[in-house]
Amino acid sequence: MTNLDSGSPLASAGASGRSYTCSWCGMASDGTALSCPACGAAVDVRSVVSRSGWAELPGRRDMAKLQFGNSYCQIEGTYVPVADMNLAANDWVYFSHHVLLWMDTQVKVSAMSLKGAWKRMLAGMPLIMTQAVGPGRIAFSRDAPGEMISLPLQPGQAVDVREHLFMVATGSVTYDWFQSNIWFTTKEGDEQETHYPLGMLLDRFQAPQYPGLLLLHASGNVFVRKLEPGQTILVKPTAFLFKDTSVRMQLHIERPAGTWRSWRSWGDRYLWIRLHGPGRVAVQSAYDKLEDNGRNIISHSGATTRQW
């Protein structure tokens, strides 16, 4: 299994003699188009990278087009972008039905079976994925201002995504999930509660044999960073978006030394996700509030701790 950050050109350059390798998805193209044909990133703008190493999602022109199979996707709008897909005959995509914005009447829609329905129901994940088969047009958007992330997946590539961020994927991308194994249990009196800061399950998308396209929607702005082998970084759990499969995760808890109970209402402890390289990690700048009742933690998944 390879990761998204493999830098080698993934397709041959065009016959024009010019060559351009997209800094976002690594796809080589002839460089004559204004946008990368695989992910829609603008080709003539500089990458915006902070001094700390976080790269902004590459700029994307309104109405940028990206190709997948015999179909293409046009990304429209800037505040809450829309993925408008023109599906060729027999090309298909799948999605969670609440992201459907509009569709042509001739597009065939049906349910896609998912394994592990019981676990998914317990985890609050959708039980049914919806699939749409071409020919015809169908469009998707989410209900929050933010950015659309296009992740072209080459054969063998995979990516792990936090729950509820997935928007749509092409039929050549497989969908699976696994236990996040990031949890802690609190107790007060006889009441115990187990919390999953990243959610109980994480989504895994992989292109086993053929290239595919995965679209995610993030709230606010998106920033991506490549961790070197052994390098770690602490990330707010609800800001975490996706990671390469090579990146490991664990819980990290920090708190001031010698605090007493009344401080807990101030939120005296910090719960982080520690991410270990190598590989890419992505975060979103607008995130949900992390639910933490402040009660005593009696057990947790493997974690590092620190007291100030």
Partner: protein
């Protein structure tokens, strides 16, 4: 030395691609709706036209009044009302007003029905001369829709920001129980009718706004929460698609079938509705 000015034929007119108003050949923005005239039209291959991205501080005229659009993420419509002009609006969208801007209430029929349907019971009116400004509570776009005499426009409840007094305001009940229960627009839609004089209607759409012109008999399926406005000639019916998979899986998707002829406007950040 002054630069030579380009020669402009006074007879040349530019048609606004959004509202179809005619503008002088030198105009940079449409005088009727504020749409930029010097930028490329944003129309997707599927035929959806993006609502024009109004330049910050764009100004346009209606009657003896002027509206300036300020800001881009959550835009503000600031109106300088001329003497004798007035606008009406739902009170929760008022941002600020001059002390001297006089207010009244629009006489409405069917108040009880509206109250039962969750529609505003009282519509406020601001009278010129004076300034008044409006905005809504979410990231989105301001959609300027000049309404020509004879035009009728149906708008999702609570999506209208402000409308000029030359436009008649009423409401239409969405027919059919299925529409009421599953349509997502609630029981009523606002209807705006320009009978004799041209008027202006400003909406606020969540996220980005797109418009498509449906041909007679042409249909499209739209997420009900994304519906923003339509010409009165466009039919709207709820269509349910059942999605079932095995023992656990079972849900249905309610979509609005919009059938032409006429315009349909949608917003990309939709109001979320639960399904069965």
């Amino acid at each position: 030395m002054t630069e030579p000015q380009p020669h402009h034929d006074p007879l040349v007119r530019i048609e606004c691609q959004w509202c179809k108003s005619q503008n002088e050949g030198t105009a940079l923005t449409c005088r009727a709706c504020g749409a930029p005239l010097d930028v490329k039209d944003m129309v997707s291959d599927s035929g959806w036209r993006e609502a024009p991205r109004l330049r910050d501080m764009t100004e346009f005229q209606f009657g003896a009044s002027a509206c300036q659009v300020e800001g881009e993420i959550v835009p503000v419509a600031e109106i300088n009302l001329g003497p004798g002009d007035s606008v009406f609006f739902e009170h929760h969208v008022l941002l600020w007003k001059d002390d001297s801007t006089r207010m009244s209430v629009l006489p409405m029929t069917g108040g009880v029905k509206r109250a039962l349907a969750g529609m505003p019971f009282i519509i406020s009116v601001a009278h010129g001369p004076g300034r008044i400004a409006f905005s809504r509570d979410a990231t989105g776009e301001l959609v300027v829709l000049p309404i020509h005499p004879g035009q009728e426009l149906d708008v999702r409840e609570h999506a209208f920001l402000v409308c000029s007094h030359t436009v008649d305001y009423t409401y239409v009940r969405i027919k059919g129980l299925r529409n009421i229960l599953f349509g997502g627009q609630g029981m009523f839609m606002d209807r705006f009718i320009a009978t004799q004089a041209q008027g202006i209607l400003l909406l606020h759409g969540y996220g980005n706004v797109f418009q498509r012109n449906l041909k007679p008999g042409e249909s499209i399926l739209v997420e009900p929460g994304a519906f923003l406005y339509k010409d009165a000639s466009v039919g709207m019916e709820v269509e349910t698609i059942k999605l079932t998979s095995g023992f656990f899986g079972g849900t249905s998707m309610n979509l609005a079938r919009m059938t032409g002829p006429g315009r349909v406007g949608i917003q990309s950040m939709y109001v979320h509705h639960t399904t069965e």
